[in-house]
Symmetry: C2
Subunit: 349 residues, 2 copies
DNA sequence: TATTTCTATGTAAGGGCTTACATTTTAAGG
DNA sequence: CCTTAAAATGTAAGCCCTTACATAGAAATA
């Protein structure tokens, strides 16, 4: 029934026009839902198209100035649940507005993200969502020159030239720390993220500020570096546990590291949360599949994806609009990985 | 420096040609690495392009008969880790051959996968990878008519008309069951997948056959229906535990359900694996972040993705090649969720 | 140097579509 | 029924490339 010859669909608008006895322009009008086509003609065209198995060639349409309805998303990789959550949100919103999604992973081109950006503006998409946590200055510069609609997801360009969505990292970290303090913890270990990222920095600051606000002295030995990967969480956990006065709670800058820390804790034969509490950040799906279920700061990842799409759409439709940043709230999700510290630890040396 | 005007890159091949003082055809030749361009001319063109910030418009290239280097992948959604793993493999291989990836999620169009298939062949991709576990007959029919390169991942078209990659589901299930039997288990609960899927069916058959081979009577009350989702695993687990003679081990048709079952077991205040063992199927990343770490059947998900890409490429390059199915081996990964059954359970009523 | 043979480059025709503008048809008004 | 305006349809140019074919220039042969 579909009369295709070879790869892709060789049935063109002309074939349909001939079949329906109209001009190609009319067929185009029908498929673009333009006004001014008689109802009878419209159905005749539709029938002809149906019969021949016509499918619009999006390339040609786009070349000729029509809409493509494809957005791109640039991500470092499918590495962790965090990014997948964002993409899920993007996908949801894209479905609503009937766009397709093109995925570009930067790891392909090594660290050459900046030049990849240029490449990405090659005509296959109408705009691009950037989920690249680490905004190098080179990348930022490339962004300036690109003159192509884009929005940053979970990153902000302090120059104010970019559309972006992000979350209240500082606030979330503050709340997490405060929660532990209110449970009675005084020695709270902290595993940092990659401190070049503003999100990591903000979380660190939130932790510090909460400590200060509650007059808890800051002990640098309780702060250990991580890189957002599970392994670093494990190693940081080990380091923390090896301390002369180990913490009674650990706050990791993201869930994946929290998972690593939990492994380290169990490897040391300690119980969670009886012996030591842990809280994460992100609330990735895995946070509920661990045991005990992880108490963490929820980031509205899906929503960030959805809003990213909306912002990009806004730019495509109103290029004149001024850039804006939307900041989404984070909140504490209490599950099973925290409780007050065991009494013996209460004494602070 | 890049002299772009508006959305997308308005610098064309003509601009570059003018700048370099050559014809547009020559510029095209340079960018397509065609032979017969003097070295001096080539560098002149490259410099001009560099200066103007020229980026090829892939749409136009493709329309004009050039290569696009984009593959599509049709998936039900980003739902579970299983699909993400496959995509990761696809992405890896695509990077090697320098293709881009377009993602189509079917949930967008409701259950109308078959017609979506038609749409997907719209010129934006050169071929499509199908990760649609549930091959409806309607879908299969659509496949016949599509005349567009595609390959099935983790599904086989028994008609032999399609290229496909899959894994040894039967074999994996057999091995999992056998492992439990050898540990001493006699009452082994089984949580099925969606039995319309051949993979679910094969796993079921593997379980049954292993039991028979070891002369263990089949108890239908130990077999409970699941749908590959976590919730169904939880409920199935509850059901199994509520039995007068509950199983000493549970084998779930996939990891996600195994996770659900583990929750149910803990909710019943039983320990894993001391009181009850559990094994899953798939080996998704989460299998190692649960506690205890899940013993499971490893499916080479990433490799399936990679091979899917290779098969698709083969079709694109050699349309005359006959369809083939590649079956990958699964294997048991022993972690911490199994041990011999507690003695008290040894007595079989 | 004249002739032949390559090699390097240019010319022009699409590829499938959209859209401004031209033309025809239809409906409305007189 | 004729005129006029509005609605429907057609014509043709152009989007940015690739590529067969034509042409000019360089190298090789006689």
């Amino acid at each position: 029934m579909t009369m295709q010859k070879n790869q892709s669909n060789p049935v063109t608008i002309y074939d349909v026009a001939k079949e329906a006895g109209v001009s190609d322009a009319t067929v185009s009008r029908v498929f673009n839902n333009k006004a001014g086509v008689k109802e009878a003609t419209r159905t005749r065209v539709l029938n002809a198209a149906q019969k021949l198995g016509y499918v619009v060639n999006l390339q040609a349409r786009s070349l000729a100035g029509g809409k493509l309805n494809v957005m791109g998303v640039l991500i470092p990789g499918l590495g962790n649940g965090y990014i997948v959550e964002i993409i899920r949100g993007i996908d949801q919103e894209l479905a609503r507005v009937d766009y397709e999604l093109m995925i570009y992973t930067t790891h392909r081109k090594g660290n050459n993200e900046a030049s990849y950006l240029q490449y990405v503006a090659n005509g296959l998409t109408e705009g691009i969502l950037l989920v690249v946590p680490l905004l190098s200055s080179e990348f930022l510069r490339a962004l300036e020159n690109i003159n192509y609609p884009y929005t940053l997801i979970d990153a902000v360009d302090t120059s104010g030239r970019s559309f972006s969505v992000s979350a209240t990292n500082w606030d979330g970290a503050y709340k997490a720390t405060e929660y532990l303090i209110k449970l009675g913890h005084r020695r709270i270990g902290f595993i940092t993220g990659i401190m070049e990222l503003s999100s990591a920095k903000d979380r660190y600051d939130g932790y510090i500020t909460a400590l200060k606000d509650y007059h808890i002295p800051i002990d640098l030995s309780l702060i250990v570096k991580g890189d957002f990967q599970q392994d670093s969480g494990y190693m940081a956990g080990q380091k923390l546990l090896a301390l002369p006065y180990p913490p009674t709670a650990i706050f990791a800058s993201n869930d994946v590291m929290a998972l690593g820390a939990m492994d380290a804790i169990r490897a040391a034969n300690l119980r969670i949360p009886q012996d030591i509490s842990v809280v994460g950040f992100d609330d990735i799906p895995q946070a509920v599949t661990t045991y005990p279920k992880l108490t963490t700061i929820h980031q509205p990842l899906e929503e960030m994806g959805r809003i990213g799409v909306k912002l990009l759409l806004e730019q495509i439709e109103h290029p004149e609009n001024a850039p804006k940043n939307i900041t989404l709230a984070t909140h504490l999700v209490i599950r099973d990985s925290c409780q007050p510290p065991p009494p013996k630890h209460d004494a602070y040396p």
